[in-house]
Symmetry: C2
Subunit: 213 residues, 2 copies
C-alpha cells in the first residue's frame, strides 16, 4: 500500500514558518533558518539542478526522503499566490519556475477551483477543492504504487495528522527559536499511532523519524 | 566560574508540563509522559535511593547532569504548595519528604518571604524574594565552586533564558504531544548565544545539549 510520508523542518519552539508570512517572505520572518541544514547538502542540490555541496549525517536522510515518491500533496499557502480566488489574468504558477523539482503529479489543497497546470519534466499541479481525503485518493492513484509526500504547510499537515492519515513523519528539528509564526501541532493533541523509530543527529539539525505502530 | 546549567524534559509541541496543573497532578494532565525516559534509569534511581534500573544511551547524559552540581534553583511552582503566601500552620515542605534527593542548598524563587528550611543529608531550601539575579548570586556562593542547576519550571527557566544567564541547556525531548500546558519558550524569542553541541539519541528520548558560544 502506498504510504503518506510527511516531512517538515521545525524549530525548537514548534514553528514551521516564522511570523508575518508574505509574498516577499514566504517562510515568515526568520523562517529560512529552519532550512539552513538542507541547502548545503549535495543530496538536495543535485535534484534541484545545483552543483557542489556537502555530504554529512543528513545525506542518507535526504536520500531516503526523496526515494520512492510518486506524488506530492501541499497546501495552497505552500503553493503560494496569496489567498482567495485565483487571479486568471496574471496566474501564479508556483515558486519554482517552469521546471519545478518534483517531476511527478502535485496536488494542491484549495477552496478555489482551477484547471490543472502542466509544467516541464513530469511535474503537474492539480487543484483539489473537495478535501484532504480526495487529494490523498487522487495522489495515491497518480503515484502508481509509489508513496505520496505531504510537503506542508502547517495547516495541511495538521489536517492529515488530526485525521490519522499520516503513515510516516520525518521532523527535521532545527536548534533555533523563531518566537512566533505557524505552529505545526496547534490543535493536534496526540501523535496517536506514530512512534519514534529513528533519530539521526547532525551538527545543525536532528532528524526524528516516526512511523505508524 | 561556576556555570548555570539548565535541564528540562520537553514535548515535541514545546510543553514542559501538561494542562491543568494541580496539587493532585503537579505535572499537569499527561505531563508524567515527559519523564518516562528517566524513571527506569539506574543512573536516576540510585541517587534517589531506589534499586535496580536499566543502563542505556541516556545513562551518560544523566550521570553528567548530576555531576559537579553544588546548588539548585527552582521556581515556586516546582517546589509546590499552591500559590500566594505560605501557610504557616500546615507548612508545605516540598514534594520530596524529609530527605530530598538534592543534598545541597536549593534556592526557591517566590514573591512570599519564608524562613529557610533545613532538611536531612545536606538539603536546605532558601526562599528568595528579590529576583533571579539574587538567587543566582546566592546559589553560586553556596555551590562552593561547583555549578548551579536550574531545575525549572517553565516560568523560572524563561526568566533566566530571557536574561541571557543560562550557560548550558540540556533538553530531554520526549517524542510525544501534550496538546496544552506550560510552554517552555513562550516569550523567549531567541537562544542568543546558546548553540547545539551534542545530540544523544535513545529509543524514547532525544537529548540536545546547548552551551554558550
Amino acid at each position: 500500500m502506498s504510504k503518506l510520508r510527511f516531512r517538515i523542518s521545525i524549530s525548537l519552539d514548534g514553528f514551521v514558518a516564522g511570523p508575518n508570512q508574505s509574498l516577499q517572505e514566504p517562510l515568515g520572518v526568520g523562517g529560512e533558518q529552519l532550512h539552513e541544514w538542507v541547502f548545503p547538502l549535495e543530496a538536495w542540490r543535485r535534484p534541484h539542478g545545483l552543483e557542489g555541496g556537502v555530504v554529512n549525517e543528513s545525506t542518507a536522510v535526504m536520500e531516503e526522503e526523496l526515494t520512492n515518491i510518486g506524488a506530492t500533496i501541499m497546501g495552497r499557502n505552500m503553493f503560494g499566490g496569496g489567498r482567495g480566488p485565483w487571479n486568471n489574468t496574471e496566474p501564479w504558477n508556483g515558486w519554482w519556475g517552469s521546471n519545478p523539482p518534483f517531476h511527478h503529479p502535485v496536488f494542491v489543497l484549495t477552496h478555489h477551483p482551477r484547471d490543472p497546470l502542466i509544467m516541464e519534466s513530469g511535474t503537474s499541479f492539480t487543484f483539489v477543492t473537495d478535501g484532504i481525503e480526495s487529494a490523498l485518493d487522487q495522489a495515491r492513484r497518480a503515484a502508481l504504487g509509489k508513496d505520496v509526500a505531504l510537503a506542508g504547510g502547517a495547516k495541511a499537515a495538521r489536517q492529515y495528522l488530526q485525521a490519522g492519515l499520516v503513515d510516516e513523519m520525518q521532523l527535521h528539528l532545527a536548534p533555533i527559536l523563531l518566537g512566533g509564526g505557524e505552529r505545526l501541532f496547534d490543535g493536534v493533541n496526540s501523535l496517536d499511532s506514530l512512534a519514534l523509530v529513528k533519530t539521526v543527529a547532525a551538527s545543525n539539525v536532528t532528524h526524528l523519524k516516526f512511523v505508524r505502530k
